[in-house]
Symmetry: C2
Subunit: 327 residues, 2 copies
Amino acid sequence: MYGDRMGFWPCREAIAEYLTAVRGVRCEAAQVIIVNGAQQGLELSARALLDPGDHVWIEEPGYPGAVQAFRGVTDNLMPVPIDDNGLDVKEGIRRCPEARAAFITPSHQFPMGMTMTTGRRMMLVDWAFRNNAWIVEDDYDSEYDFRRRPIAAVQGLDTNARVIYIGTFSKVLFPSLRIGYLVVPSDLTSAFCRVRQASDVSHSTLEQAVLAEFIREGHLAGHIRRMRMLYMERNHMLVAAIEEQLGASVKIVAQAGMHLICLLPAGIDDTIVWQEAVKAGIASWPLSICYQRKPDQGGLILGYGGVDRKQIKEGVKKLAAVVRECL
Amino acid sequence: MYGDRMGFWPCREAIAEYLTAVRGVRCEAAQVIIVNGAQQGLELSARALLDPGDHVWIEEPGYPGAVQAFRGVTDNLMPVPIDDNGLDVKEGIRRCPEARAAFITPSHQFPMGMTMTTGRRMMLVDWAFRNNAWIVEDDYDSEYDFRRRPIAAVQGLDTNARVIYIGTFSKVLFPSLRIGYLVVPSDLTSAFCRVRQASDVSHSTLEQAVLAEFIREGHLAGHIRRMRMLYMERNHMLVAAIEEQLGASVKIVAQAGMHLICLLPAGIDDTIVWQEAVKAGIASWPLSICYQRKPDQGGLILGYGGVDRKQIKEGVKKLAAVVRECL
């Protein structure tokens, strides 16, 4: 038969326990819905929560996949700036108090990497409660912040059932696994299930069964401990290589998780640098694709999760040549 | 990394070869997109091909999952009757000549089980060509027609690239596998990829790699041969049990594949019979959910793919008691 359209029960239990213990999420397995990665979580959220014309706050800069998912339902996406404390909630309220939802990446903002402060989180939760708005929390890369112990999820702070929590195993295990999850307020599970049913019925059971045991037997926690060390090393290697090869011509920001950003001097079009880098064999993202409005300063988002010391050294050498050409 | 958003190449190759050899589909691997079952294939088709307000022909009775998928984009679904030759194309043209798409299950109509004749197929292909309309062909249960050798797919008849062909391994292997596929005209692949990217990026790679070898090594063909015999036996057992227990009070139709239909006497509400059957532990579908307009005669759709001799005997005994209660 088809699997449960919310997911394989032991896998949902394992995820609920893990999130409660590690991320401070308040949930039961019955609230967990297994999806094909965070992108499907975003898309189901947009379709279950929003009507055409509804307004949504989007972090500026923010995650292009979220923009794609919300645009599938509504055109009214309101960019809200971020600063060192995360999403500027006051500015969001000023620009668009009537928004029906706010999309946030509070653990490790994508792409800029800061963590949203507890004060900002409380302010957002309060706004959502007063306005019957939804908070869509993509707990992006929370596992791999090696600067400090991660702050608990916004979902755990909220006592009004206004948060949809999204996570994925794409980063913490591997992207082609395609297992993510939603934690939704209990009274929304049937609405999410209806959308899921029309979309692709349910998730493959086999991989969920394996994942459930993998988590239960402690392998996930062990893997994260090992990978956190590895990614920290790769981060340091990449930073050192960039400083050596590119010196003061770029500024490195967003140092945590599995990527960093090389900010380019103002006036340089990062999509041109990105295209030239692709020709030289370097995969990156131009920072400007994370903006809905044109940014003052472009940059390159460089992932280091899947590259070793040799690739980092050689890659940065090629990249430096590309950047010097473009300056 | 993420997998190819169109699917794992060796799996797409294996499916293209299989469809060419077995179903008369004309395609290359580059036209094959791996999806999470037929339902996602339907949904991506609706979103890639249609705009809100577009008209779509839907077989009446037809597949409720297709209705769900197309309703996600447009409200203008036009029921087109079927007869012993399949979809009544002339009636479709009379009711709604300007439709942007027609959804069909020509191999084994869902739920009524007839095969669309070659004449009707040619007429439909001609209409689609003249009107720049799309044919969405769900090649439902083509493998398990044990009455005759299956007719080749409509996709292979069409020389104008108007057909989107949908298949799945849910029936032919098992439903919780969640691997289906689309074969799309070459000039539509990028449009489908964009929709897929926003939806859930790509399919899990591991299971595709296993499936590719399973097909290549001939296990799929062997499995189908064995299962065709098994399902035929189960079909015969179920028919015999129904005739013994229920006699002339019901009429059995749609005898092929993995389900049959017990037509109930006119005037009986099949949703009530269905609910009572659920209480007695019998899973079925009421035929009326396959209709957009209220049908003259209800029935129960009974699957026999996953039940053995003992379950069939005991199940039909319980079902007969329920039906007698409701008459």
